[in-house]
Amino acid sequence: MSAHLIAFFTLREALRRRVVLAAALLTLGYLVLYGVGVWFGYRDLQETQDGPPGLTEGVVSLMLVGGLWSLNFIASVLAVFLSVGALSGEVDQGTLHAIAARPVRRGEIVLGKFVGFTLMLAVFIGVSASLMILIVAVITGEIVGGSWAGPFLMLLAAMLLIGLALAGSSRLSPLPNGVIVFTLYATALIGGVIEQIGDVLESAVMFNIGVFSSVLVPTRAMWDMASAQLATGGFAGELSAGPFGASNPPSGWMLLIAFLHLALTLGFALRAFERRDF
């Protein structure tokens, strides 16, 4: 078995690539800005004396969920950028020839890359989300962030995109693959918005379009579940509906659909790459 060799190789490559360095620096800059924003926001909040009970905790929680939403977005973009040319791109460049001629199964190459990118994203989400929770805790003295399930759901969203990009990359060259994956990702985002509007307007058609888009690409649904886990206090749950989450988070079925989705995309990537000519 050589899948672990490919996984560590992929992780090492990702760490040395400029795209990751750029993402890390941008995220660091973003965290600094975010800290400044939280600091001012929290100061203004303390001057408001006449809010309902739980207002402070609710608003702090909302600030955190909003911040994590941005991290989720960066993680998604990073996941796509890393994996969009992982198979076809390398075959076309010729960098995979010598490796694929070794006693390594094609499937091990696909799985190794999947695991490598997932580890990379786990590090990214783990470190940046922890830093963000820490920033909020230091500034406000409130430990918010809800359950650990939140970051895991964020990672699951990134894994869905990696699976999708690898499936495409087994056949398509990086550019068309990137266009398709981002289009699907955007469809899921818009679908979420349509679903919410449909919910408010009580339009079954719009609602169903939204649900369909979530089944097609469950990334947005994963974030909706994540934000429900991350928000603390019933009040924050209400507030964070809107741009950062759904008013009623998806049911547990969505999780099952997400795992099915992952199994399907990876299964397709394995089969298609197995049959591919170099």
Partner: protein, 303 residues
Amino acid sequence: MSQSAAIYLSGVSKRYGDTLAVDDVCLSVAHGEVFGFLGPNGAGKSTLVEMILGLTHPTAGDIEVLGQPVGSLAARAEVGYLPETFRFHDWLTAFELLHFHARLARVPADARTERVPELLELVGLKDRASDRISTFSKGMMQRVGLAQALVGEPRLVILDEPTSALDPIGRRDVRDRIRELGEQGVTVFLNSHLLSEVEQVCDRVAIIDHGSIVAEGKLDDLLNAQEIELRAGEGAEAAARETLGEGGVRQVNGRLRVRVANDDETARLIRRMVEAGVPVYDVRQVGDSLEDLFVRVAERGDV
């Protein structure tokens, strides 16, 4: 038959859309043989090699490598391969690349630490071992690629144009390396269109054109069929065709070139011409080089 061969191909074809890149190739390379595979650009050499390595799937036919069906992991563990493009992950250093490939080739850890510096020295990259491949020149990349091909102590080495980017000294080094491998009993499959290279190292060659093998055999045998060049009067060509058949007769620069199997045939041809009243002014043997053979075979375009 197939058990004793390092590479065994039977009826192998590969079609890309409308192009038949490889057309019904049957070939057998014995253990320990240094085999040269020649052909013009686009003849199908790289496609064939990629099929032998299991990188490309044949449209038809059977392939066995080291007695195993193509693509088997056990066989691959004993094969070293230098791809035609010699592109590697250039964020690695030469040292890291060799270590990575040694691990993939299942070389044990202590053997790795010994073998990697040895190979870097062998290909003249000892001083650049810890530089990233992205800083290498093309020739240096091909050198590190050769080291990569040898890192698993393979029983079969497949080199797809291993000297295309090398300077004359690098080429000589590679030739010496190939000879050494041959002496050690390693089977070498060398794709090339550098004829002198093949001439100097290979025991046996095959020439492929438009996907089909058009000549195959021991180099001596292939080159032994001779050609004679005649300066003669009217009617010489007809006499030659009459005596030796249509196949080996052609005009080159106003002279007649005729392929003969041996000296007897030469004598017979001249006697026939004299009998027919054709004046013969000059006859000389034209030494056939591999280049002549290659050009002749490739220009003919068919078998």
